[in-house]
């Protein structure tokens, strides 16, 4: 089954490159959607079915729809990645350093974790739900408040005030 994981992650990385280098924002949006699909596949393979499904339901189903919706609504034209090299280089050198630094760090650090055999029910809805509403009920409530705030924010931002009404 490991090959499945590697295919999923390979494709995910491939499509995420697509997100970054696609000329047309719509294309990058769609490639992000496919990346999300593969990421949810990774989740399922890592014993997190609930998260995987939720990823599709919430992330792909709602957020990406929103993104595409807005992109189409605003009818955004293609954007030339012009002068990427200059633009790129000016900012690029630092992330590169970070990259190299990180790779070494993670390779050195990670083996300290040990893989614990995990029972069948590990990532199921029941388990995650239990801990979500059990020890992390406060976090759950705060998340709901964040969403409420976002809703109010959106309403306030997009409501056409008197003077703007065409």
């Amino acid at each position: 089954m490991e090959y499945l994981f590697y295919t999923f992650s390979g494709l995910a990385i491939l499509f995420s490159l697509g997100v970054v280098f696609a000329r047309n924002p719509i294309y990058s949006g769609l490639s992000l959607v496919t990346t999300l699909f593969f990421v949810s596949g990774i989740f399922v393979l890592l014993h997190a079915p609930f998260i995987g499904v939720l990823q599709i339901l919430v992330y792909t189903g709602a957020i990406m729809v929103l993104f595409l919706y807005v992109m189409m609504l605003l009818n955004i034209q293609e954007e030339q990645i012009v002068g990427t090299r200059k633009h790129l280089m000016k900012w690029m050198h630092l992330p590169l350093i970070v990259v190299i630094f990180f790779i070494f760090k993670s390779l050195i650090l990670v083996p300290t974790f040990s893989d614990i055999p995990v029972d069948e029910k590990f990532g199921s809805v029941f388990n995650v739900g239990e801990s979500l509403l059990g020890s992390y009920v406060l976090v759950f409530e705060i998340a709901s408040i964040v969403l409420l705030a976002a809703m109010i924010g959106v309403v306030v931002l997009t409501k056409k005030t008197q003077k703007e009404k065409p």
Partner: protein, 101 residues
């Protein structure tokens, strides 16, 4: 499923890196949003990976919260973009720098 953890972390880091590069590379606001979403996903992968290896469901709870917050952030971000568009402002990030020090 015996996927060693450092491979999962490597994958998540690759995604994070690509998102980062995209962030610096792209100019218009929407694509930058997408790259941010990519970053968040990379983080989620890492969380799930570690949760799987230490057998603790907390990782999943965190991912849930991250998704919720991402949803809120996307909503707000997009409504700002719409507002910008309505006021005929350019969407390129470089041009939107009135908030200068």
């Amino acid at each position: 499923m015996i996927v060693p953890l450092d491979h999962v972390l490597l994958v998540s880091f690759a995604l994070f890196l690509i998102g980062l590069v995209g962030l610096f590379l792209r100019k218009d606001a929407l694509t930058i949003f997408l790259c941010v979403e990519l970053l968040l996903n990379a983080a989620n992968v890492a969380f799930v990976g570690v949760a799987r290896s230490i057998g603790d469901v907390t990782g999943h709870v965190v991912v849930l919260i991250v998704i919720a917050v991402a949803a809120a952030e996307a909503a707000i971000g997009l409504s700002i973009v719409i507002r910008l568009h309505q006021n005929k402002k350019p969407l390129e990030v470089q041009k939107l720098n009135e908030l200068k020090g």
